[in-house]
Each structure stands twice: as structure tokens, then as C-alpha cells.
């Protein structure tokens, strides 16, 4: 803070307020630093005097101004009498132009401290004794570019020894401007206009991002410069003339059309700066006048470009008519939902900086350095542009200059969101669109957005898989070869039987003969309904050897559905077991026991490449499933392509876990055979049990496993850390969340992500996942082609979202007996030749690495735990049920996973019971397609177009009945489950339900543990519950004897590196930190220290100092050396403070101390009526908060009673209010309260000295108890004290949603570092 006394002061102007708040909120902000840069070369003998700089400083008060906040929130501009220029000297001797530019760019971004007078500085980079790079940095809050121009011109004049031509009175007119308040009537008028204009505008743009948006903005950016060619540039001017619009308006229309196309939106908000100096008297005034206007544009695909220009012209004109509402007032008026991760109202910008005042310096703001420039005195100035003002918005297009007739353009983008490769793609497309638009203004935007033939060819080439020669062979060829070459090697095995390759071939002969004798001929369709076993493989091979195809019938499907399939496919016969046989008698069957040894007989011709290999039935939107018919050619292509990619060989040992009624089972059953490896078929029960699968993996030395993400999740949770180490993990069938991918990478040998619809044969693309690289669908396999198209079936530029169409050898023949549907989904695209393409309905985009990313579905097909479901099929079935008038099926995401929910409108008086509905559906649909939750509505929510508004379907209630995903597996789990359900008052929990997610909290936790220990004789502790909050987890601990996790340290979240240490609040247990632990970023461990008194009342320490000494010992067992990061909520903060002081006294380093709504342990903060009753009232309050209830119990009510009575009173009241269960353990709670009391007394006695350590204080803004704005910490903080308020009161800050803000502050201060990527 400057010590100079100000000679003048005035309030900051409206146009400055937004920037002031921004800089205060983000002290590292450099995105609003304006630059002027140039090379300065001495051409004569001596350097001329630079005295004129000081004279300018003396003449213009704005160069001597600081921005100082006043008590009460006002901000003043304070002018000091004297200021010397701040010049930073750099030695740049050995730097190339590029390195120097980068250096200057970084240096100029260093923030300016607005509290210091003179919001500017000068950098001088000495390249040679006669040549410097000069960079002038000014903060936008004080000067806009117009002012920069005025100052530069003035500087040039003075440098040349002439008197200034800038009239001082006008130049210093900003004070007068700043003092003018906004006319209230005008303000109201403006606000009305803008609120109407931006009503219901999208809050955030929908340009596809390369990376997920970070939680907070970093205001860092990068630039990509390009140029429109002279023809296009001239075209823009000409079009402006003929449409009576300015070049700015035409270019804005081009940009808007481009943005609309790339974001697939017709409602795009673009911000644009205006100089806002229309009045002549302001043209020579120094200061900041620029305002930001938010323009609402409508680039709909069917609008012609000329119309769009007209619309933009109207929008811009009206905006200028209302340009005097300061941007920050606009934000105030619109009050959008504030999200710290993006700029309010508009994140996309357009600026056309063509100020006459800067004309003389135009070359200095071009794109290239040069050595040609004006000479003055003994000095030549030449352009050396340095990128500036990056990071203000997600994407900003800056234009205004011209080079040799072509418009210069720079895209400034946020590199945390967009990769350079994507931005270059955008620039290229924008330039191409500009050319087409000005040449064909009468065409609609959709057509103008198209690429030319050359570009299209390039885009199409991105999605082409490698060619692969298949010849005329089928899989039989390869298996037959192995049958000869490795006759005795094991091929397929299950728990009971192993087939060697030759045996496999011989068994398939037996099957073929048996089938043949029952009338199976070439082209016939054979169904099988069998439990998983090794014999399935020779059965299928046998079917193929007859030239027939197979149709799998899942033994777990309802009979009605299987009968339908059998009928639809016109099966020649069904192979099955007696126990599974519930087919209508009309269908011929072959029982497995009927297949035996027979002498070799000649078989008819086996399958050829274009014969059908299998028909698989998938969910159909009309209510009946449909059969996808796949040829041998497509199947062989898949096998050979994957064989290459995955490098399967004779050492491959794969455990087959997928049901044969899903096509991905073919990879498991046959791909290893193509390579000469082994297939181990797992039985059904094992596939549901991670532990058993792990057992099979070990037993059979399995090195390859394919499964859906849901199954992998189960495996990771149910197996020991080393169990999956040897596996090559193949994952597919559903979206793979990044977190799961990371865990898989850590625990397996290799991970592949696979993608593909059934209609293009099993999988069509794959990606080998790697650490640090985001999950993607990878690239298409051999002989497969991916193209991404818009709604008009035209190729979209890479980076843009579109629908995936697949072409190539993998295409199925079509849908059996559904020619219209086949024609609809498998089509020819005339513009792309005569080949067929399959329309996937998947929304995708190419990322900058040339891989495909998935971005949801375009229809009502969903994946639920890997199962493909047409929501319309479920709806159709629901509607067919008696009493149901309207039905909508939707997948709803819970924390526990996703669930299929049915929304029903039923006939009045005929409301069907949920149980009945479920049983009806179970008879018709596979179990995974039966909704697990039912919501009855009076009417369905509709959009303005009278379609069902899925966004407004209510979330199902938290205690809705759930289907047992996993039921208790033994008596121990059964009893635990019962205790859970009773305590949580929930029905139908499953053993994997998380206690805390089901509504559990600290006191219920204590309750549950004590019940468990009492009834089961176990010795579980609350720490066990924190570690594994599920019935399954607790059961495991009991069984393995690892119950009663140790002492004071509770790991809330494991990780690497130095832990974040949290200390227990007044109750002594650390359950309240659970949410905080989840929200802290990074992967440092989060360890909480709980009071030893909870488990052993003797072990409790009496003073805070003694507690801290003990905890320091405990901590140093885990982290022997600093620096330490410590903190706590409430009393925990006081402990953290003492721990930090003790560590500091030992010579250990501290990373930081954070205090969450802790009141400082000073005498003034001890309430005069502090006694047991006060503490008991806090205890009561604590009981209520997790229930979302406020309970303010007056201590005086308790004081009148004896202490045991008071306590009993609280318990009774708590039970009456439903805060405790009827059977809550009073003794346990009494002990809990004793810890509370002891800690409370310790706190009252604690009076530590002040500290020099920096403190972060998080204040609960809504806490009514008043301990002053800094809770007294100003008395203890000798070093920096950062105090930040967050929403919530003393208790609610630790729960969702408020705790996220608390975590974010800690993340920001201590944990997260934002690194800028090096520029290419």
C-alpha cells in the first residue's frame, strides 16, 4: 500500500466496477492487461532523453492513480502527487524472436496491483546495447485502447520535441465522467430492454469442448492468428454496401453462423466491446469507457445469410442504442445462476478494433514483427507484436486490421477447454464459411456451413480403418487349421470338461450330424437355450458346418419373449435341456442328451462368407424385439481385425463371462480360438460374484477378460488389489467413466475400450487406454469406416458434434423380416457413393488426437449397466397394461448408479399396484428392462410443442423401492442388513447400498455399530463404517478379522503424497468430514484425527495442548516430515491451530492452516453463560443438522434441571422429533456427550499466543451467533489472515451443497495448482 497522501480522489466509474471486482476476486488476473510493444533501435550516437515520460506522468493524473477500497464497500480512485515510472529491465541477449515474444507475453501477464498508484508498468528487454524490446503494460480498468492511442500519439509528439497537442483539460476529463451517476429513469429503461432481449437465453454456450470445464476459471488464454483472403475480405465490404450494413456487422454474421453450426444451436449469445465514446468531448479523454454488450443472435440452419446479416444489423443497432448500461449492472439485473466456472451471460466474444486514434500504430498491432517503422530522434520504432489480453473468454474472435487486402483475425481461446488443433480446425472452417457466405448470401446457413470437396475428402479420411484382405474364408477355416496343427492343445473348457482343438472339431461333427438328422440344412436357423458351458462352442461350430446360423435364446428371458423369437426367426429347431424346455410343443427341439457318438458321415457344404452366421435379437421400439442378421464375412472381418489389434496368440487364456445372447460373447468364445489360445467358460453364478471370478482367474491363469463397466466395477470392488494384475482388460457395452478407467489402468496389465452396435458386428472401434489420456472410443477397426454427419447427412468438421454412421465390412445384412426398418437404418448416401451405411444414433465427435468421443444418444435407446434398451419398448409394454393411460420410461442417475424409472398416468380408480405391474412386465421382458421404480403422475409434463418434456420429469423419491441388486449372501450379511434397514427406516436395501447415501449420519452410525456389536458379538468401530459403509463391506471386515480399525487416525480417502490432516470437532468423531473429504481435489490422502475418548473414555486428554501433543505424535507416525497441511471445523480448527504451533516450534514446516467457522480461542469469545447446558444445546443442534432440521434449544430450559434429567430431556425430545430411533442406545449417546463436554471445557480453557503462520478462515455466512466478522482471529493472526465467507451456517457448511464451496477454497489455496501448457 502506497504511503503517499492522495491529492485528489473520486469514486470509480460504472465502467470500471466490473473490472475492479474481477481483479479483487482473482488477484492473479492478467487477462485485462493492455499492451503496446515495439522494437526500439538506436540509429544515432546517443539515446534521446526519456524525460517526456515523466512529464506525461505529471500532466495526466490517471497515470498516478490507485484504486483503493473504502470502508462500506465503495472504491475510490486516488491520485498521488508524484510518481516515477515503474520500469522492469530484462536481459534478453540470447533470445530468439519467438522466445522473446513468449517471455514478454508471460511477463506482461503478471498482475498489476491496483492498490498501488499507476496501474501500469514498462518492460525493457535489452537485446543488444542498441536494440531493446519495449513493452508498455496498462490495466484496462484505468485505460482503454482509445486512451492507449491518445497516449501513444502524445508520446510520439513529445518525443520529437514538440509540445503536446492533447488538450490537458479534455485529457483529464475522466473525473467529471466518473462522478456522473447513471440517470435512474434511463437505467430502468435500459434494464428493461436488456432483460427482454436476453430473456431465456442459454446461460452457457454449447460448443463442444476438448476437455472438461475446470471448476474455477483461470483466466489464461492462447491465440491463433490467421487471415481471410483478399477476395473474401473484399466480398465482406461489398456485401456490407449492398445490404446496407457495416463490415463489422457482416463479419459478426459470419461468426455467428459459424458458432451456431459448431454448437448445433440457433440461440447464441456473443459479447462485443463498444468504445462508448460517442460524445465528441470524450474523444480526447483518457480513461476507461469501454462497455461490453451481449448480443442475442439466432443463426438457424434454414435462415439465409442475407437475412442473418439483416437480423444482426437490427440487433447491433438496438444494442448501440442501449449501449450505456454498464455490463456489471446487466449482470446484476439478470442475476443469472452464478457458477464460478464460466463467465456470466456470454463466454463467446467478437471484437472489431478499428479505432482511428490507433491508425498510426496499426502495424504495431498486426500479426508479424518487422524492422520497418517510423524514426524519431535517434531512434527507430518497429513492430514486435506480443499476444495480449488472452483468457477473458472461452473463445474470442478479434479482427479489425488488414494485411495486403486480407482481414487479419485472431482466435483467442481458453487452452483448458480447447486444443490448438481444434482451434485451427475452427479457423479453417470459419474462413471457408466466410468465403461461401459472401459469395452466396441467398443460401441458407445449413448449406453454407458445408465444406468443399477437398476438405470433405480429408474429413472422411479421418475415419477410415486399415484395409484387410479377407478372401473367401470363414472362421471355420481357422479353427479347422488349429484342429490339425495343435490338436491336443486345450481350446474350450468349463468347470467340468475341457476340449482340445481336435476334440472340439470332433464334437462339432457330432452336433452337425445330430442337427442334420433332425432336418437342419444350409440356410436353416437353429436356436439354443442352454446354460453357459463349453459345449456351446462345438454346437455353434457344428451349426456353421452345416451352413446354418444360430439364434441364442437366453435362459433368463421370459418364456413369452423366447417363444416370440422362435416364431419370428422361423427356427428349424431349438437345442435345449429338459429343465429349460418351456417352448410351445409345435417347435421341434433337440435335447443335448440326445447327441451322441455316431459314425462319420459326409456333411453337406459348410457356411460360405455371405451366409448368415447368427441372428441376435435386440430391444425394439415397437414393443417387440428385432433380429439382427450377421454374415460370416462380417464376423471374420471382426475376428481378424481384433486378432491383429489385441495381439491374441496361443498364450491367450480368456475367461468367458458374457451371455451368448449378447454378440460380444462371440469375441470371448471364438477370438482366442482364432489365435490358438484357450477359452475358459465361466458358469452363470460366478459371473455375478467378483470373488468367484477372481478365483477362476487365478485357478486357470487367465490373462484376458472382457466385461461391461458395471462388471468391472464389481470386480474392482470385490477383489484383492493384486488379483487382476495379469489381465488384459477389455471393456465395452456402455460408457466408461474416466474414474473407473483410471482405476482399471492402475490394477490391470492393459486396458482397452471397445465400441460398436450389434448392427455392425460386435465391436467397430477400440482404444488402448493410457494414463493421463482421456477415455475415447478410439479408431475404427480394419475395413471399417466412421463418418460424422449433421442432420442433413453432411460431413461435419472434425471437432464438431454429429451423428456417427458406420460403413464397411462389419455391416449386418439387416433386420430379419423388417425390410422398412432395415432400409431406414442401413442406407446408401448418394453423395458418398453406393456403399451402405448404418446410422448408429450415437452422438460423437473427433478429438484433436484423431479419436472418437461419445457424447450421448440422439434417440431413446439407452444403455443401462451395459444392457441395450429401447425406452419405447418399455413404454409400449407399460401402455399395454390395464389401467395405464400414459407411460414414459427414463433412465435416472443416482449416486449408486442408474435406474430405469417408469412414469405413469393411470385411469382414475383403476390404479394398478406396483407389484402387479412388475410381475406383468417380468413375464414379458428381460429382468433388466423391468423398471425398478414407478412414479405415478396426474399428468405428464409437456413442452410448448405438446411433447413429453423429459427434463421436467420429477426425480423419484429417495426411499423408493429398489430391486435387490444383490441380496445378503449369508447370515451375517442378513442380520447386518436388517440392522441397516431398521435404523435407516428403509425397505429393500441391498448389501452394496452406502450407509451415508441412504441417509445415515454420525449418530446413526454410532447407533448401528453398537447394535451390530451387541447382536452379533462383533467388535466393529465407527471407523470401520467410515471405511466401508456397506453391509457387504462390514461383513467382509468381520469375516476377515480386520474389524476395529485402529485408534485415532481415520483415512477418509486414500491417496499419494502428503496427507490433508483434519481434526475432530467438539463431538470427537470425524464423520462430519466425510463430505469434505469427498470434495477435496487431487489425490492426496485425507486423514481425520478422531478423539480417542470415543472408544476409550480413559484415554481422553483434558487440555487442547495435551490433545495436540498426542495427535502430533500420531500424525508423525504417518508423515514424519513436513510440510504439513492441517485444518478443522469448529473446535477442530482450534486443535489444528495448536498442532500447527507445536509443529512449528519443533522446526517443522507448515503448508497451511485452515479453519472452518472456528471461533478464535480468545477470552472474549467464551460466552459468559458457558456451561454444561450451553454445550448440551449445541449437542442438540448437532443432532438435528444432518436431518436438515434447525433445533435451537434454549440453554436456560436445561439449566433448571439436574444434569441427568437435562440429558434425558434432550434425548426424549430428539426421539419425538424423529432425530433418533426409538431404540437408540442411550448409554452410547451419553458417552458421546461426555466427550462433547470434555472438549467444550478444554476449548474454554485454551488461550494460546498469536501466530505468524498464515491462516485461511472460512466463514459461515449465515451463522446467527455473532463473534465478529473475523471470529476474533484478528487478535491471533500476526501473519496473513485470509477470510472468505461461504453460504451456510455453522453446521450446514459441512454438508452438501455448501461443503463444496468450502472444499473449493481449500483446493484453491493449498491443493490445486494450475499449470499453463507450453505453447507450440
Amino acid at each position: 500500500m502506497s504511503t503517499a497522501v492522495p491529492v485528489a480522489a473520486w469514486p470509480i466509474a460504472e465502467e470500471q466496477k466490473g473490472l475492479w471486482y474481477l481483479q479483487q476476486a482473482h488477484p492473479q488476473l492478467g487477462a485485462y492487461n493492455l499492451l503496446f510493444s515495439c522494437t526500439v533501435e538506436k540509429t544515432g550516437e546517443a539515446w534521446p532523453s526519456t524525460e517526456f515520460v515523466q512529464r506525461m506522468i505529471n500532466d495526466y493524473p490517471l497515470l498516478r492513480t490507485a484504486f483503493v477500497s473504502q470502508p462500506g464497500g465503495a472504491v475510490e480512485q486516488q491520485v498521488v502527487a508524484h510518481l516515477r515510472p515503474r520500469v522492469v529491465h530484462h536481459d534478453a541477449r540470447d533470445l530468439t524472436d519467438d522466445s522473446l515474444r513468449e517471455r514478454a507475453r508471460q511477463d506482461s501477464r503478471a498482475p498489476l496491483d491496483l492498490n498501488e498508484p499507476g496501474a501500469w508498468r514498462i518492460h525493457l528487454y535489452r537485446r543488444t546495447p542498441d536494440c531493446y524490446l519495449l513493452v508498455v503494460v496498462m490495466h484496462h480498468i484505468a485505460f482503454d485502447f482509445w486512451s492507449m492511442g491518445l497516449l501513444l500519439k502524445d508520446a510520439m509528439t513529445r518525443w520529437q520535441g514538440q509540445p503536446s497537442t492533447l488538450p490537458a483539460e479534455q485529457a483529464n476529463g475522466y473525473e467529471q465522467h466518473a462522478r456522473q451517476p447513471l440517470d435512474p429513469q434511463r437505467h430502468q429503461q435500459l434494464t428493461r430492454y436488456w432483460t427482454a432481449s436476453l430473456l431465456d437465453a442459454p446461460a452457457l454456450h454449447s460448443l463442444p469442448l476438448d476437455h472438461p470445464r475446470p471448476g474455477t476459471q483461470a483466466f489464461q488464454g492462447a491465440s491463433w492468428s490467421f487471415r481471410l483472403d483478399p477476395a473474401t475480405s473484399a466480398g465482406i465490404q461489398a456485401l456490407g454496401r449492398s445490404l446496407h450494413a457495416t463490415p463489422y456487422m457482416v463479419m459478426l454474421a459470419i461468426y455467428t453462423g459459424f458458432l451456431g453450426y459448431w454448437s448445433s444451436s440457433s440461440d447464441v449469445v456473443v459479447s462485443t466491446p463498444v468504445a462508448n465514446r460517442t460524445a465528441r468531448r470524450l474523444r480526447n479523454t483518457l480513461g476507461q469507457f469501454v462497455n461490453t454488450l451481449c448480443l442475442r443472435t439466432h443463426p438457424a440452419p434454414d435462415v439465409t445469410f442475407a437475412t442473418l446479416v439483416g437480423d444482426i444489423k437490427t440487433t447491433v443497432t438496438e444494442a448501440i442504442r442501449h449501449q450505456d448500461l454498464p455490463f456489471y449492472r446487466l449482470v446484476e439485473a439478470l442475476a443469472p445462476k452464478r457458477d464460478s466456472s464460466y463467465q456470466a451471460i456470454a463466454q463467446l466474444g467478437f471484437s472489431w478494433e478499428h479505432l482511428p486514434v490507433l491508425e498510426d500504430f496499426a502495424a504495431f498491432y498486426g500479426q508479424e514483427a518487422s524492422s520497418v517503422g517510423p524514426t524519431a530522434g535517434n531512434v527507430r520504432l518497429s513492430p514486435f507484436p506480443v499476444p495480449q489480453q488472452e483468457g477473458q473468454l472461452d473463445l474470442l474472435l478479434e479482427m479489425g486490421g488488414q494485411t495486403q487486402g486480407g482481414y487479419d483475425a485472431t482466435l483467442k481461446y481458453n487452452p483448458h477447454l480447447f486444443d490448438l488443433a481444434t482451434v485451427r480446425q475452427m479457423a479453417e472452417h470459419l474462413a471457408a464459411m466466410a468465403a461461401r457466405m459472401v459469395a452466396n448470401p441467398a443460401l441458407p446457413l445449413a448449406e453454407l456451413a458445408q465444406a468443399n470437396a477437398h476438405q470433405q475428402a480429408r474429413w472422411q479420411a479421418l475415419g477410415r480403418g486399415q484395409p484387410l484382405i479377407l478372401g473367401d474364408r470363414t472362421l471355420l477355416h481357422f479353427i479347422g487349421q488349429h484342429a490339425r496343427a495343435r490338436a491336443n492343445s486345450p481350446a474350450v473348457a468349463d468347470a467340468h470338461h475341457t476340449y482340445g482343438y481336435q476334440q472340439l472339431w470332433q464334437r462339432s461333427q457330432q452336433w452337425a450330424q445330430a442337427l442334420h438328422s433332425r432336418g437342419v440344412v444350409k440356410g436353416a436357423r437353429v436356436g439354443f437355450k442352454l446354460e453357459r458351458c463349453a459345449d456351446l462352442v462345438p454346437l455353434i461350430i457344428g451349426i456353421w458346418r452345416l451352413g446354418a446360423c444360430y439364434v441364442p435364446l437366453d435362459p433368463h428371458f421370459p418364456a413369452e419373449r423366447l417363444a416370440y423369437i422362435a416364431q419370428d426367426a422361423q427356427l428349424t429347431l431349438v437345442v435345449t435341456e429338459p429343465e429349460l424346455d418351456d417352448f410351445p410343443s409345435a417347435i421341434p427341439r433337440l435335447l443335448t442328451q440326445e447327441v451322441g457318438e455316431t459314425g462319420p458321415i459326409a456333411l453337406p457344404e459348410p457356411a460360405q462368407a455371405d451366409d448368415t452366421a447368427y441372428i441376435l435379437y435386440t430391444s425394439g421400439s415397437t414393443g417387440q424385439p428385432k433380429g439382427v442378421e450377421v454374415s460370416h464375412l462380417a464376423l471374420l472381418n471382426f475376428m481378424l481385425a481384433l486378432h491383429d489389434e489385441l495381439a491374441f496368440d496361443s498364450q491367450t487364456r480368456l475367461l468367458a463371462v458374457t451371455t451368448p445372447s449378447f454378440d460380444i460373447s462371440l469375441l470371448e468364445l471364438f477370438l482366442p480360438l482364432v489365435a490358438g489360445g484357450l477359452v475358459q467358460v465361466a458358469d452363470f453364478a460366478s459371473t455375478r460374484d467378483g470373488a468367484r471370478l477372481a478365483g477362476l482367474i487365478e485357478q486357470h491363469a487367465i490373462n484376458t477378460l472382457q466385461a461391461t463397466p458395471a462388471t468391472w466395477q464389481m470386480l474392482l470392488e470385490q477383489t484383492a488389489p493384486g488379483a487382476l494384475e495379469t489381465l488384459t482388460a477389455l471393456c465395452g457395452g456402455d460408457a466408461l467413466p474416466q474414474a473407473l478407467a483410471d482405476r482399471l489402468l492402475a490394477r490391470t496389465a492393459a486396458v482397452w475400450n471397445l465400441y460398436g452396435p450389434t448392427e455392425t458386428t460386435i465391436w467397430s472401434s477400440l482404444a488402448r487406454l493410457q494414463c493421463g489420456v482421456p477415455v475415447s472410443l478410439g479408431k475404427p477397426i480394419a475395413n471399417t469406416e466412421f463418418i460424422v454427419l449433421d442432420e442433413q447427412q453432411r460431413l461435419v468438421p472434425p471437432g464438431m458434434l454429429g451423428e456417427l454412421w458406420i460403413g464397411g465390412a462389419g455391416l449386418a445384412k439387416g433386420y430379419l423380416h423388417r425390410p422398412e426398418l432395415t432400409r431406414e437404418r442401413f442406407c446408401v448416401l448418394p453423395r458418398l457413393g453406393t456403399q451402405r451405411w448404418y446410422r448408429t444414433g450415437d452422438q460423437v465427435r473427433w478429438n484433436s488426437r484423431g479419436e472418437l468421443e461419445h457424447h450421448g444418444r440422439l434417440d431413446f435407446q439407452v444403455k443401462l449397466r451395459g444392457y441395450r434398451i429401447e425406452l419405447e419398448e418399455v413404454q409400449a409394454r407399460l401402455l399395454a397394461l390395464h389401467g395405464v393411460q400414459q407411460a414414459v420410461a427414463a433412465v435416472v442417475d443416482h449416486e449408486l448408479g442408474s435406474a430405469l424409472v417408469a412414469y405413469l398416468v393411470t385411469e382414475a380408480g383403476a390404479e394398478p399396484a406396483i407389484g402387479w405391474l412388475k410381475s406383468q412386465l417380468k413375464a414379458q421382458l428381460p429382468a433388466y428392462m423391468v423398471p425398478t421404480e414407478f412414479v405415478f403422475l396426474a399428468r405428464l409434463p409437456l413442452t410448448p410443442n405438446n411433447k413429453v418434456d423429459r427434463q421436467r420429469l420429477p426425480a423419484p423419491g429417495p426411499r423408493a423401492t429398489r430391486v435387490d441388486i444383490t441380496a445378503p449372501r449369508d447370515d451375517l450379511e442378513g442380520q447386518l442388513l436388517e440392522i441397516f434397514q431398521r435404523t435407516l427406516r428403509a425397505e429393500a436395501l441391498c448389501i452394496h447400498d452406502d450407509f451415508f447415501d441412504m441417509g445415515g449420519h454420525s449418530l446413526l452410525a454410532v447407533d448401528i455399530i453398537s447394535q451390530a456389536n451387541r447382536t452379533l458379538g462383533t467388535s466393529l468401530s465407527v471407523a470401520d463404517l467410515l471405511g466401508t459403509p456397506t453391509v457387504a463391506g462390514l461383513g467382509d471386515r468381520v469375516r476377515s478379522g480386520t474389524a476395529n480399525a485402529s485408534g485415532t487416525l481415520i483415512t477418509l480417502r486414500p491417496g499419494h503424497g502428503r496427507p490433508v490432516w483434519l481434526f475432530h470437532p467438539i463431538g470427537g468423531n470425524v464423520l462430519s468430514y466425510r463430505e469434505l473429504g469427498r470434495h477435496l481435489s487431487g489425490n492426496r490422502p485425507v486423514i481425520a484425527v478422531q478423539s480417542p475418548g470415543l472408544e476409550n473414555p480413559e484415554a481422553v486428554e483434558v487440555t487442547v495442548e495435551a490433545m495436540a501433543t498426542r495427535y502430533v505424535e500420531d500424525i508423525r507416525q504417518v508423515q514424519p516430515e513436513g510440510p504439513y497441511l492441517v485444518g478443522g471445523w469448529c473446535f477442530g480448527g482450534a486443535i489444528a491451530y495448536e498442532v500447527a504451533s507445536q509443529l512449528q516450534a519443533m522446526g517443522q514446516g507448515l503448508e497451511g492452516v485452515f479453519l472452518i467457522d472456528t471461533r478464535a480461542p480468545i477470552a472474549q469469545n467464551v460466552p459468559s453463560d458457558a456451561d454444561d447446558s450451553t454445550l448440551l444445546s449445541w449437542f442438540a443442534r448437532d443432532l438435528a443438522t444432518p436431518h436438515g432440521v434447525q433445533w435451537d434449544l434454549d440453554p436456560s430450559l436445561l439449566r433448571s434441571r439436574a444434569s441427568e434429567d437435562a440429558f434425558a430431556y434432550v434425548l426424549t425430545q430428539a426421539k419425538q422429533r424423529g432425530l433418533l430411533g426409538e431404540h437408540a442406545d442411550d448409554e452410547q449417546l451419553a458417552r458421546y456427550f461426555e466427550t462433547y463436554l470434555a472438549n467444550g471445557i478444554a476449548l474454554q480453557l485454551y488461550a494460546p499466543p498469536a501466530t505468524t503462520l498464515p491462516l485461511l478462515l472460512v466463514l459461515a455466512r449465515d451463522e446467527p451467533a455473532d463473534y465478529g466478522p473475523l471470529l476474533g482471529w484478528q487478535h491471533l493472526a500476526l501473519g496473513p489472515l485470509t477470510a472468505v465467507p461461504v453460504a451456510g451456517d455453522h453446521n450446514t457448511v459441512m454438508y452438501r451443497p455448501q461443503v463444496a464451496a468450502v472444499a473449493e477454497l481449500i483446493n484453491h489455496h493449498f491443493i490445486r495448482t494450475v499449470e499453463l501448457e507450453p505453447q507450440p
Binding site: 456490407g240 454496401r241 445490404l243 450494413a245 463490415p247 463489422y248 444489423k313 438496438e318 442504442r321 482511428p356
Partner: protein
Amino acid sequence: MDSTWTRNTALNLSHADLPYLRDKLLAMVHREMRLADVVVAADRNLAEYGLDSIVALTIAGDLEEELGIELPPTLLWDYPTINDLAGYLASLAPRPAGDAA
């Protein structure tokens, strides 16, 4: 770019008539839009001569100061030809006393 307008050529609405206004506006447009050799028709949209935003705002601001009345910054888009502009400005002139209202 400062306008080098001086008091001598100041516009004065009190004795303005349309031809006078038109001439003055033509001169302003020629100067600000750098159309030295171009014939600007008084009934053609100024955008056809390459009007850009800054010039439009500058002319509006200059006129505002010269006439001492408030004019919208969008003046040249609201009245895009010299005839329209002159007509609008003339309508703002105070009526001489004694005129029938």
C-alpha cells in the same frame, strides 16, 4: 481521429433549411468517410459508400455537440441517407414564434 470542425462552419439549426443542412452533412460525410473524389447521392444509403461503425458514431457525436441536442448514437442507421438525416434534423429545429402549431 479528431474532427477539425471549427465554429465557422458550425451547424446552426435556428436558421437551418434543408439545402443548407444537406450541404453541411455532405461535407461531413466526405471528410469522415474519406470520399474526396466520390459523388455521394443524397438519396442513397450511406452504407453503400462503405460506412463503418466508428464513423457513424463519430458523425452522430459531432452533430450532437454542434447542435447542442441529444441525438441517438444510432443516428446514421436510423436515418441512413443524407436526405433522411437532413429532414430529421430540420424537424428538431425550434419553430419561429408566431407559427401556427
